[in-house]
């Protein structure tokens, strides 16, 4: 049985990716399960979807704990524990990631005994954070990696899943997908079926017994205000707005009011400051800034620059 997990952010098309791959497997005569899993959050928040495909009946249920392939549309998710990207990765797993970094960097960074591949993209893509059709690219790469899905089955699956949105959209997706499929030629069949899991080897979870508390103590009443600020929605961001203070007019009431997330405050000097812990990267401030003093830059570049600056400040040990 193939067990494949797709990780991305809401809006990147990973739910559709799992549907396309599942339908393509089905076209090839497999029995298939595919299901998305997301919480209450919205576009930009981490989500995942998974596909099981087998030539015989599938009796497994629930989330895939030990995947044969993990496809990641957005490398900034790896460092977010809530995304659970690395869950259950072992020596037999292939990790396919959309990243500017090399497989060696990722192997070193994660100290992971897994096969690591980078999502192939054409030279015209300069910034992977803005990769168009990211989900479809991951679905097509996954289809080639398992080696049992033909070009025609992949195209037919995309047509079936996206046909309702019109032929033009389906055609663009098919073109992108087949291009990726061809780029993955050298890795065709690199992902093999995982072993069957048998009930005989079932190990019960290691439950921890918690004694019941007095109900009055066990149900805390919380009176703290604005506790939502403990949630770092800045992790959702793929593009980062940056204020160029040499051009800032100090009309902070504009950006600070239009920001839906209360993420632009005003400092004592009367200058706006962006709270990167919570800015979701909607970029309304970039659109509304009267002197155009706010610029959008890819988050991964901003982070790389910060790391460099930090390293320069830290003396050699």
């Amino acid at each position: 049985m193939y067990r494949i997990r797709f990780h991305g952010r809401g809006g990147q098309g990973m739910k559709t990716a799992s549907r396309v791959l599942g339908t393509a497997f089905f076209q090839q005569g497999f029995q298939v399960q595919d299901a998305p899993r997301y919480g209450a959050e919205r576009r930009g928040a981490p989500i995942f979807a998974y596909v099981r495909a087998s030539r015989t009946a599938i009796n497994e249920r629930g989330v895939i704990r030990h995947p044969d392939l993990v496809a990641i549309a957005d490398d900034s998710l790896v460092s977010s524990p809530a995304a659970g990207v690395l869950q259950g990765l072992g020596p037999g797993t292939t990790m396919l990631i959309n990243s500017h970094d090399t497989p060696e960097v990722w192997r070193h960074r994660l100290n992971l005994d897994a096969t690591i591949l980078i999502v192939p993209v054409g030279e015209e893509v300069t910034d992977r954070a803005d990769l168009p059709f990211a989900g479809m690219v991951c679905a097509a790469a996954a289809a080639r990696l398992v080696g049992v899905i033909g070009r025609e089955a992949l195209a037919a699956a995309i047509r079936e899943e996206l046909g309702a949105h019109g032929n033009a959209l389906a055609d663009r997706n098919i073109e992108t997908a087949l291009h990726t499929y061809d780029l993955m030629q050298d890795h065709a069949g690199a992902v093999t079926e995982g072993t069957e899991i048998s009930a005989e080897n079932y190990a019960s979870p290691q439950w921890i017994d918690l004694p019941l508390e007095n109900a009055g103590r066990a149900a805390p009443s919380i009176h703290a205000a604005a506790t939502s600020t403990l949630l770092k929605t800045g992790l959702w961001r793929t593009m980062r707005p940056e204020i160029d203070y040499t051009h800032c007019n100090r009309c902070w009431w504009v950006c600070s009011t239009f920001c839906p997330d209360s993420a632009i405050r005003v400092n004592e000097a009367g200058l706006p400051e962006i709270d990167y812990d919570h800015c979701k990267g909607c970029l309304i401030c970039v659109a509304k800034c009267p002197p155009h003093a706010i610029e959008a830059i890819p988050e991964h570049l901003a982070q790389a620059r910060e790391e460099k600056a930090h390293a320069a400040k830290t003396p050699d040990r």
């Binding site: 205000a225 939502s228 929605t233 600070s256 709270d275």
Partner: protein, 305 residues
Amino acid sequence: MAKTPIRRMKDLPSSHLFGSGTPMCAGCGGLESLHQIYEILGPRTVFVNAAGCMTLLAIYPFTPFRGSWLYTAMASAPAGAQGIRDALDILLEQQRMEPAEDLNVVVLTGDGSANGMGLSATSAAMERNLDFLYICYDNEGYGNTGQQFSAATPHGARTATSTGPHGFSGNKKDLFSIWAAHKPAYVATAIGAEPVDLARKIEAAKQLKGPRLIITLAPCPPGWDFDPRDAADIGKLAVKTGIWPLKEYVDGKVVHSKIPHPRLPVEEYLQTQGRFSHLFHPRRDEGLLAEIQDSVDRYWNGITE
């Protein structure tokens, strides 16, 4: 009530009483108006939230508010507000609470609840002259479940359940007029993209007693299909093209707080959103475009105040 009346953007408070870190989408037009509204209302408010996108605002133990939040079923937020108002009134009457400790009771629902399931409960609350504020964030569809059409979906828009070549065949319900027909203390339309107008309306509502109801148009990046960065610009266009009139009902009279002049062609608004793309591609749907423009023109025809 703020000490200085709000006349321009510079007068707007920037205290950010409303907490960041909510799970609303990046670029949410509903959140854009809510955080502005909360700045004016202040922390002495209790929110009664019907099921909808904003269900997720205050998931225990996290909340963006500085006061209480009550979650109700889709049809019953005004009934929840009645219960809270009654409890507060009893505490005041029995002098178990100082008048200074009194709270604003605010209902918060989406357009699905306001125009549909919750409309009869709202009507009944107005009939009882309940002292409350109703905020409806109108993203013109059931956004929380994937933008199926609601009674507030505009004519011609594509939704998850209006996928035909001409989009939604119905017409947006005139909730402002339905509410105003009850003769409550105050009704208004507003939008987060016009912060001064919104702030003045919240200030006006705050000073009145009885039922006060405000609809804010909430540009919705996933539901309307546009880039989140355009949310505020699209909101401005809704006002400038006249498709979203800004108005108030007070003392039995409807007054427009902004009459767009010159009024831009409505297609400048429509073409910013994927939900109307079938009006322009693969070819222009002249009939439907003219129909939408005509309905806007007919609205404004003869309006002078």
